[in-house]
């Protein structure tokens, strides 16, 4: 393991709770602002963490989003109890979505979630088991 993180923050995310979906990523944004982190990095973290949070809200039963800040990078871990991803390669394709129609009607599940996370982070790791859940770990380098 590399050095210890300077900051660790964790938020619980409830599946199906659209009303509060987005609060965890807002919280992350405000922590980064207080630390004086560069606006362009805040923007990337903010977009990627929102996508990860909404994935939990849309697909999973429950989950957690953890923020770890190191001297040289930011790591977000989004872990959920949920259906898992059957085909990661497909899920990484822009526009591919398994969201049911009522979710798509709400403007979510456009199949941009994972591609957006990948696009806005320096590294993305996906661990998933169908029927059990998914763990996303993504990192943004500082400077």
């Amino acid at each position: 393991m590399s050095e210890k993180p300077l900051i660790i923050e964790e938020s619980a995310v409830k599946g199906g709770d659209f009303e509060h979906g987005g609060e965890a990523s807002s919280k992350i944004k405000n922590v980064l602002k207080k630390l004086g982190i560069d606006n362009s990095i805040i923007r990337r973290v903010s977009i990627a963490s929102y996508e990860a949070e909404m994935n939990i809200v849309i697909y999973a039963e429950s989950g957690k989003i953890a923020l770890e800040i190191f001297r040289d990078k930011i790591r977000i871990t989004a872990k959920d109890k949920g259906p898992g991803i059957a085909d990661i390669e497909l899920a990484m394709k822009e526009g591919y979505s398994t969201a049911p129609p009522e979710i798509i009607e709400m403007g979510f599940g456009a199949g941009m979630g994972l591609p957006n996370i990948k696009k806005n982070s320096n590294r993305l790791k996906i661990d998933t088991k169908v029927g059990e859940g998914t763990k996303l770990v993504f990192e943004m380098d500082l400077k």
């Binding site: 300077l6 807002s26 944004k29 207080k34 923007r43």
Partner: protein, 414 residues
């Protein structure tokens, strides 16, 4: 942290302040603390929104304006009246008579800021018409909002309109137009502390073309106590300009575009959070005011109720509607206007005040410390410690700007 100085116009009277914490709770940048029974402003955080002025139950907070005594000189004096002036309760005295009393008070010309509003709106529409402009464009009409962005949302400064604020467009115009008067002095009657500050410490321009800035409340008292009338030149705004004295004035004029209209600093804060997170629909233009209902809600207006004030402004507006939508003067001016006077000339720089420390490692230490301290606090935000919330207090303690025993609950636990 580095000590910098910054001028804002809000002043707390030490004599009148009872340390009641009303102001501290409403400050949108958490920039007020109560220490030793008195409220103190952290100057760098002040955006002159006037929430503290409006909410002080003891009239202990005001704005550093110029006094009406500056009117007795022999200079050629021009007064610019804000659109919200027409929303005031003149106790049955017609607006025309009020203007004549102002001439008696010593002004040679009176211009309504609405003419500046009209020039501002015509050019805003031009900007929106051009394709490829970054969207949404955020209005520069409210100086408190400009300062709010500098202090709390610097990443959004990118969206600010390049246009000068309406009153500054007008002041530039008058200065050019009346060059022949050597002793010309231009006065502004400000409805709020932010516009006072925008004259004394402008952002986006090198210097303001206003020489003096009066408080509308002081001018109101003066004009109601004058009985005589004088003569002078009047330049009235049309309907379009006058309606910018309240919320939706911009939106109603820019009706071919997608415009959101926001008033109240808390509402503005919520919106900017969402805009920063890119969670807003497609919007072309953001009309946004720090005061409730827009300028009619200005904290230097002697207004007993903002909804009645809005209503009075609309009545005055109806009188003009039959004549012109835009002022004849605006129409004349826009034909010959020097484009330069329309635009900001300086960068509006970020001035973020939410960093916990300059250095990242130190900021991280403070943040962790804040979390630990916060767990010990009751989290009921009672304000007795002199900070606006338990979290703000925990931050102050972590920054060593307060001590834990300032919390009465913590004292009791010991």
């Amino acid at each position: 942290m580095k000590k910098e100085s910054y001028f804002h116009s809000i002043r707390i009277s030490e004599e009148k302040c009872l340390g009641c914490t009303y102001c501290m709770r409403v400050c949108p940048t958490e920039g007020i603390r109560v220490k030793n029974g008195k409220a103190w402003i952290q100057d760098l955080k002040c955006i002159d929104c006037g929430e503290c002025v409006r909410n002080c139950p003891h009239s202990a907070i005001g704005s550093e304006v110029d006094l009406c005594t500056s009117l007795t000189s022999f200079d050629y004096k021009i007064l610019v009246l804000p659109s919200s002036f027409a929303s005031l309760d003149f106790k049955g005295i017609p607006y025309e008579i009020i203007l004549k009393r102002l001439f008696y008070a010593g002004f040679n010309e009176i211009w309504e800021e609405g003419i500046g509003n009209e020039m501002f709106l015509l050019n805003t529409r031009e900007l929106l018409r051009k394709r490829g402009e970054k969207k949404p464009i955020i209005s520069t009409a409210c100086p408190s909002i400009v300062r709010f962005l500098q202090v709390n949302f610097p990443s959004l400064l990118y969206y600010l309109s390049p246009l000068n604020a309406p009153k500054d467009i007008l002041a530039n115009f008058i200065r050019d137009e009346r060059k022949k008067y050597k002793n010309l002095k231009i006065f502004y009657a400000s409805p709020c502390p932010a516009k006072v500050t925008s004259v004394k410490n402008p952002q986006g321009i090198k210097r303001s073309q206003f020489d003096y800035v009066l408080g509308t409340n002081n001018l109101y008292n003066k004009v109601l106590s004058i009985r005589e009338m004088g003569e002078g030149k009047i330049y009235l705004s049309g309907r379009v300009g006058l309606s910018m004295g309240e919320k939706s004035g911009e939106k109603n004029f820019l009706k071919n575009y997608k415009v959101i209209s926001i008033s109240g600093v808390q509402e503005a804060k919520n919106f900017f959070e969402k805009l920063e997170e890119e969670k807003v629909p497609m919007i072309d233009y953001v009309e946004v005011w720090a005061c409730p209902n827009g300028c009619v809600g200005g904290s230097l207006l002697p207004t007993e109720d903002i909804n009645i004030a809005s209503f009075r402004l609309e009545l005055e507006n109806e009188k003009r509607m039959r004549k012109y939508s835009k002022s004849v003067d605006t129409l004349k001016i826009s034909k010959s206007i020097n484009q330069k006077i329309l635009f900001l000339t300086e960068d509006i720089k970020p001035r973020p005040q939410y960093f916990l420390a300059e250095k990242f490692e130190e900021a991280a230490r403070i943040l962790n410390e804040t979390g630990k301290i916060l767990k010990k606090l009751p989290q009921i935000d009672c304000g007795s410690c002199g900070a606006p919330s338990c979290r703000a207090f925990a931050e102050d303690v972590a920054k060593k700007e307060a001590t834990l025993t300032d919390c009465i609950f913590f004292k009791n636990k010991q």
